[in-house]
Amino acid sequence: MKRLCKTSQFALFALLVITILVFGVMNHDILSVASLYSLARTCTVPAIFALAIMVVMVIGELDMSYCMIGAFSSYAVFFALHEKSITKFPLLVIFLAAVGISIVLQLLNWFLIDQLHILSFIATLGTQTFLKGAILAFVGSSYIYDIPKSAVDFGTTYLLSASYKSGVATQLPLAVIIMIGMYVLMNLILEHTVFGRKLYAIGGDPDAAKRAGINVSQTRLIAFIIVGVICGIGGVVHNCLGRCSLPMPTDLVGQELNGIAAVVLGRGASQRAKGTVSGTLIGVLLLQFISNNLIMIGVPSYYQGFVTGLIIFVGLVTQTQIGSTLFSKILGKKGAVQ
């Protein structure tokens, strides 16, 4: 417990637990297994995309285009299949194709940021705008409902299911495994491989990294490829779960900042690490839990934005110096959020 208190994510974790408890007291259904499955399901896609932006933030950059790239690559693949009226197609190839497109687009980002030294925030804002226009103007703007059967199957394969007291059933989709797998793998890469440490080193100080003998450009390149892979997978998973493909899914594009918020919330007060895998997951869980369950505790749906904003705000305050001193005072433990 003491060690847990010392981790920088503790404040956020406490906020999550408190939120869950408060919500749970107001509606016991929220503490049920069914609610957990529902949360896992809604978390899947945001969590994958949050992982992508986290990698970018670890190397000290920012990406405003990652959601658009995910949506773009997936839609492009489904659009091609739709045009050719192919209804049977191996899922793996769909994934690979989307990942391929996504990597190419992330390489464009890498080129702008690493080779042309453009500030990442601006460069990716440019790519985002440009891709948004490109997909709608040149590829297509219609919904695609006849996505291949393999993809539908993947989206509708459930591992477990449970139901609320009211009888409404919720299921735990297979895709959750992919999400968890990606988190475990990314955690391994970032915390236990030399490559992962190189990423943190570049995020810490690029010049020092160069002096340490790290090939900064090359390492960044691989990082952007990884981001591309994650975005590609995220895009396809999103479409499989939704059982249709649309060029600019509103629950994805325009939500870039929520992903960034999750990462920032997750890195805790210290801000030493630019992002951690576990923290990001907690950040996503918190944000999704709130938007998922507000209705269940009787808050009208149009209050949702307000409350979400408020909670993000509280989360941010706990990270500041003022917030963390306040927080440790409340807990009565010195250095609880070091």
Binding site: T193, V194, G196, R197, Y200, D205, A208, R211, A212, G213
Partner: protein
């Protein structure tokens, strides 16, 4: 004697400008050599070429009897060349242990990170150097001296044969410097060569066996192990090609109202019960080891930190204590900060804008509108206060060298026509020539304009040159008041040391 690194006739240019102009340089095994030169003489370039950070155009680079046409950072590290840069090149977002082991982790080309191994090895090295600290702490929270120790540990782990240290003593207290030298001597005994790159002649001369002095990209002087030590004046001559004659500051006592009188000033643990008087036209030095509270005192006199107790009198009027900078500015106090890069200048803004940053408030009416015409006139006057080579008002401040940047900071404050000028380590990282200029400016201000000047510094030479009176601080208290008369530098040093101990 076996040479570790030998450089012959090395040329290197950046976009057509020669940074190394036929440089020759040798360092032998187990030697402590000092590389001296003014800013921009090419010594940083030389280090960067040897460590593989820059390529070179022509010439010979021989490391451990191996000729290199081109050397990468990784190869240089493999040859045992380790550089400790002034900023230490540490990763603030990582622990001490990981920082120490980072280079070897990268060099070993392994995939997996063995955390237990990293922690154990780091601990071993820390013990070996005699540096007691928890290796799991993050580097972001360490002091400068601690960061330097981490950087040294990292170099030792790499089995360094040649350790290059860029300005290693700048931010260290005397005690820490002694400890650093002890470690360096121990390294030398174990066969490691050390190359000191430094500005601080007196400190470096304690430890170096030999010197190489550079000017304009080439070697102008070299002494070897066993050669007689050369004097500071000699070194300055080789560095600049000019001879400087410095006259000491003389203060003619006047019996008028003191510019500033400080009564029983206290701040937390940093300093307590500070009592002194600063007269008009006087240059008062405040010295002491790093951490003695001198820097905090200077900040408190300028409202950057609010003292807990005490009061300040300005021109005979009790003004209490300053709660913020604006209050201090109202009483015409100027403050030249310790770190001009982060605290003194807006590097990416034009020199002209930097100069008016302070006085713009004096040329603003109540509605916040600036009287541009008058401000411009004042700005023009201020810019002609002192000579700055290569100053184009529209260029950004970072186009200037360190000494000239410091002059810009001075101009900014002098434009406000202060009654009291506080300078916190005014010549750190400033060339010998510019340093002498700045000293002369300080003296002129006191004599001609009757400004009360406070110089906070740990550079004894500087204090000797500019001050008529020096307060020595120790653990937050003023322990000694020294009057500068005809002491020699050595005598003065002994006096301050006695007071500090």
């Amino acid at each position: 004697m076996k040479a570790i690194v030998e450089v012959q006739n090395l040329y290197k240019s950046f976009y057509g400008a020669l940074a190394l102009n036929g440089m020759n340089f040798t360092i032998n095994e187990g030697e402590i050599r000092c590389l001296i030169g003014e800013n921009g003489c090419g010594k940083s370039t030389l280090i960067k070429v040897i460590s593989g950070f820059h390529s070179f155009d022509s010439g010979e680079l021989i490391i451990n009897n191996k000729r290199y046409e081109k050397i990468t950072t990784a190869e240089a590290i493999a040859e045992g060349i380790q550089v400790i840069y002034q900023d230490f090149s540490l990763f603030p977002n990582m622990t001490i242990a990981e920082n120490i082991m980072m280079y070897s982790t990268v060099a070993e080309r392994k995939i997996h990170v063995d955390w237990n191994d990293i922690k154990a090895s780091a601990k071993k090295i820390l013990d070996q150097v005699g540096f007691e600290i928890d290796p799991n702490l993050y580097v972001a929270g360490l002091s400068v001296a601690q960061k330097q120790m981490v950087a040294i540990c990292r170099a030792i782990v790499q089995k360094a044969k040649l350790l290059i240290m860029d300005e290693p003593t700048t931010a260290l207290t005397t005690k820490e410097v002694q400890r650093l030298f002890e470690i360096v001597r121990r390294l030398k005994d174990s066969g490691v060569s050390v190359l000191f790159v430094s500005h601080k002649l007196d400190e470096v001369s304690q430890i170096c066996d030999s010197y190489t002095i550079m000017r304009n990209g080439r070697r102008v002087f070299q002494s070897d192990v066993g050669d007689a030590k050369i004097t500071n004046e000699e070194i300055v001559y080789y560095m600049t090609g000019k001879r400087y004659s410095n006259s000491k500051f003389t203060y003619v006592p006047k019996n008028d109202i003191p510019a500033m009188k400080v009564n029983g000033l206290c701040y937390k643990k940093a300093f307590r019960d500070i009592q002194f008087t600063l007269r008009k036209g006087e240059v008062l030095g405040i010295t002491g080891l790093l951490g003695c509270g001198r820097s905090e005192l200077a900040k408190a006199l300028f409202g950057l930190i609010t003292p807990t107790k005490g009061s300040i009198e300005i021109s005979g009027k009790n003004v209490g204590i300053f709660r913020n900078v604006e209050e201090a500015i109202r009483y015409k106090i100027a403050y030249v900060p310790e770190d001009r890069l982060t605290e003194g200048l807006h590097l990416d803004q034009s020199i002209a804008d930097n100069i008016i940053a302070r006085i713009i408030r004096d040329y603003t009416n109540k509605a916040g509108i600036v009287n541009v015409k008058r401000l411009k006139k004042k700005q023009y006057e201020s810019m002609n206060l002192m000579e700055v080579t290569g100053m184009i008002p529209g260029n950004p401040a970072n186009s200037l060298s360190g000494g000239n940047q410091q002059k810009i900071v001075l101009m900014k404050w002098l434009a406000s026509e202060p009654n009291i000028l506080i300078l916190n380590c005014p010549t750190v990282g400033v060339d010998v020539g510019a340093k002498s200029d700045i000293h002369n400016i300080i003296k002129d201000l006191a004599i001609e304009k009757g400004i009360g000047v406070i110089v906070v510094s740990n550079d004894n030479y500087e204090l000797m040159q500019t001050c008529n009176r020096v307060l020595v601080m120790k653990e937050g208290c003023v322990v000694e008041e020294l009057f500068i008369k005809d002491q020699t530098l050595d005598e003065f040093e002994m006096m301050t040391e006695r007071a500090e101990s």
